[in-house]
């Protein structure tokens, strides 16, 4: 992958010259910031404060999750995993976790593939009704999910998609696709057409040119769109709550709200469940954040 990327980089420079310079890589950016004149504490002190502000709730969650019931110590020691045992085995977070992972991955795959295909069409072809289509896509973002609940419920019931992860994936993909599509077409528009044309002159078919030239350059965009799709699906509560009427089809957010009783809340279990739900998201961001910054800035600044 990196090799192709390197090759296309050179291609870009050869064919397009300076007008289509590649977006600066992460490392180059960081160096540019460090070279700026100014006092570093003006940036660092507010950042540290902000970080503390953000992390303290997480610390609380962690503390509640790993200290035994009834304990009030601030630094939990020895660490107890009783709450994790409760949520995973007794409450069924094992099943909820599996459902969430399957759904998240399903949404990730479909949103990414469909938005690349649709985004390519929007970026490269002129067709009748294109503007109307784009406008409709944008407008669909104004409709809150709760409004679509009952119509979707009725449709899904007719199709037998209630109580199934497939149904959740379809609903979530439908809701996430418009924005992903628009984002992706923006990314693709930033990749110069001349590259593809050059590839086609050299004998590539259009699909081949797409896979050889466009797709490798889309890597940051794929990561950005894909990870947002995954996290959006991971966090979605409403659809999972409404379309699943069997407990073995619950996802993590529904499971979390399930631990909140009307009269009693097991804070240890709730916190442990929160950790279970948060860890994958943190991992995803830790892995992809480098690409994410690239992807977002590539979309933000017109090349």
């Amino acid at each position: 992958m990196t090799e192709t990327l390197g090759k296309t980089d050179t291609l870009v420079r050869e064919i397009a010259g300076t007008t289509h310079a590649p977006p600066p890589t992460g490392r180059r950016r960081r160096r540019a910031v460090a070279e700026e004149p100014g006092k570093p504490w003006m940036i660092r002190v507010p950042l540290v404060l902000y970080l503390l502000f953000t992390l303290v709730p997480f610390y609380w969650m962690l503390v509640f999750a790993v200290r035994p019931t009834g304990s009030t110590q601030l630094v939990p020691w020895p660490v107890s995993f009783e709450h994790f045992d409760t949520v995973w085995n007794d409450i069924g977070f094992g099943v909820f976790f599996y459902n969430s992972v399957v759904m998240g991955l399903g949404v990730l795959v479909f949103v990414t593939i469909l938005s690349v295909m649709g985004g390519y069409a929007l970026a490269r072809f002129r067709f009748r009704g294109q503007r109307v289509f784009l406008l409709a896509m944008l407008c669909s973002q104004f409709i809150p999910g709760a409004m679509m609940l009952i119509p979707l419920f009725v449709i899904f019931k007719g199709l037998g998609l209630l109580n199934s992860i497939t149904g959740l994936v379809i609903a979530e993909v439908a809701f996430q696709l418009p924005l992903s599509l628009i984002l992706m077409s923006g990314f693709i528009r930033n990749i110069s057409v001349e590259l593809e044309e050059a590839a086609m002159v050299d004998g590539c078919s259009r699909p081949r040119a797409f896979f050889a030239v466009v797709l490798p350059q889309l890597k940051p965009a794929l990561v950005a769109v894909g990870s947002f799709a995954f996290i959006g699906a991971w966090n979605n509560f409403l659809f999972a709550l409404m379309f699943a009427t069997r407990q073995d089809k619950f996802t993590l957010p529904v499971g979390l709200s399930y631990t909140l009783g009307e009269f009693n809340t097991d804070f240890g279990a709730l916190a442990a469940g929160g950790v279970v739900a948060a860890v994958p998201v943190v991992l995803v961001f830790a892995v992809v954040q480098r690409f994410l910054v690239q992807g977002l800035s590539a979309g933000a600044v017109k090349g």
């Binding site: 009834g70 409404m242 009427t245 009693n264």
Partner: protein, 428 residues
């Protein structure tokens, strides 16, 4: 393109063909779905036990348990009703009963109750509460248990200070002030100032004022000056005998403060029994809400819990059989003993556990005392929850912060309730 469409249609048909699950099998067995309206790890095992007992006694009926998170249960029922995918039997409380009846989702149960083992076995005050909630006065749920607002207090703190548990509101405020030691982070009372505050405040106001009905000649009595006196007394306790953070307290924070050991008294209900006893053991006990200067005991009843059979169910007989089983003396006793609430089945009163559960016995005593007057809040009004929550919770916070007078606050809310009640009467 056309081939694709045909394929898609075929796939959709194939999918919908497999969707008709449940129902009666060829061997006469039926599966019914039961929705627990306050699902969660605390109650699921209790229901699972009752279901296995039921299935052992009725081998042809299988019960599928689904726990619904209590915060979303009304929305879930609404969606299910609109989509025609309701369960066969479900837990329903009077707080959203009128709403479900309005959508004609529930089957009336009067005949089934009177024609079966439950005839004359249900606590009359609960039956009455259920009846009053439906516009046509029918019983759409069979009541199973009730909750009551009470005050939990720290017996050890009272003992150490040489105080008796308060019987009147004046004793109450005195005790709250005396037990406060802000320097040691100990407070006499904790006010619910955040989510759910107004509902709780209304029960306090009527307990104090002794006003014996919520509407008089179609007008809300909430603005009564005696009600305002109580609100004023509570607001005066704020920050003097209560933690400052109380202005944003929902019940979870309130319970956390109480179980954490920084508060002497907390107004909540029987539902927090397991939380408070788990944390404080025998250092905690319950008293009814104090009475006002008039000495009359008026109680705003909590929503009554019960089971409903849904109109859409294809197995209403089996569904009723299960609901009846859950309300039978044995099951009702088992259930209420575990959750610490007031059993609806009057045969349970003689159960041994009631003598040991002092808080339930106390509450039953209050509900059965002929001198007690029930003042049901109009939870059947469609606007009730928006008036008491969205509209007036922020206003109550202003009262606590001294930016709004108690009388003005109650007058505004009373006007809103009067208008809503009029609309309701007109539509009936």
């Amino acid at each position: 393109m056309r081939r694709l469409l045909v394929a898609a249609a075929a796939a959709a048909l194939a999918l919908s063909a497999c969707s008709s699950g449940g129902g009666a099998g060829s061997d006469g067995n039926v599966t019914i779905t039961f929705w627990d309206n306050n699902g969660g790890p605390a109650r699921e095992p209790i229901y699972k036990e009752l279901i296995s007992r039921f299935e052992a006694a009725n081998p042809t009926i299988k019960v599928e348990y689904v726990g619904i998170p209590s915060a979303s249960v009304q929305q879930k029922y609404d969606t299910a009703i609109a989509g025609g995918e309701t369960p066969d039997v479900g837990g329903v409380t009077t707080s959203y009963l009128a709403h479900l009846v309005g959508q004609q989702a529930l089957a009336p149960l009067d005949d089934r109750i009177n024609g079966g083992a439950l005839k004359d076995k249900l606590l009359p005050s609960l039956v009455e509460t259920v009846r009053q909630t439906a516009p046509d006065g029918k019983l759409y749920i069979v009541p199973s248990s009730a909750n009551m607002d009470i005050i939990w207090y720290r017996t050890d703190w009272f003992e150490a200070a040489g105080l008796e548990p308060p019987k009147t509101w004046d004793e109450f405020t005195t005790a709250a002030t005396r037990l406060t030691d802000a320097a040691a982070n100990r407070y006499g009372y904790t006010i619910r100032g955040g989510a759910g505050s107004v509902f709780q405040l209304i029960t306090e106001a009527y307990a104090y004022s002794g006003v014996d009905s919520f509407f008089k000649d179609g007008k809300s009595t909430l603005g009564d000056s005696a009600n305002a006196e109580l609100v004023d007394k509570i607001a005066k306790l704020y920050k003097k005998a209560t933690p400052e953070a109380d202005v944003n307290n929902s019940f979870t924070q309130m319970i956390a403060q109480f179980t954490g050991g920084s508060v002497a008294m907390m107004h909540h209900n029987l539902g927090s029994y397991s939380d408070v006893t788990k944390a404080l053991g025998d250092k905690v006990a319950a008293i009814p809400l104090p009475v006002g200067p008039g000495g009359k005991r008026t109680v705003v009843p909590n929503p009554t819990d019960g089971f409903a059979v849904f109109n859409n169910s294809e197995h209403q007989d089996a569904a009723w059989k299960f609901a009846e089983f859950l309300t039978s003396a044995e099951s009702n006793s088992y259930w209420n003993e575990k959750v610490g609430q007031i059993p609806a089945n009057t045969d349970v009163r003689s159960a041994a556990w009631i003598d040991e559960a002092a808080h339930v016995k106390m509450a039953l005593g209050v509900l059965e005392d002929p001198a007690t007057v029930l003042v049901p809040a109009p939870v059947y009004l469609p606007q009730y929850s928006s008036i008491t929550k969205a509209d007036n919770e922020p206003q109550y916070q202003k009262v606590l912060l001294g930016e709004l007078s108690a009388q003005d606050f109650l007058n505004t809310m009373a006007e809103q309730l009067t208008a809503a009640q009029k609309e309701w009467e007109d539509r009936k």
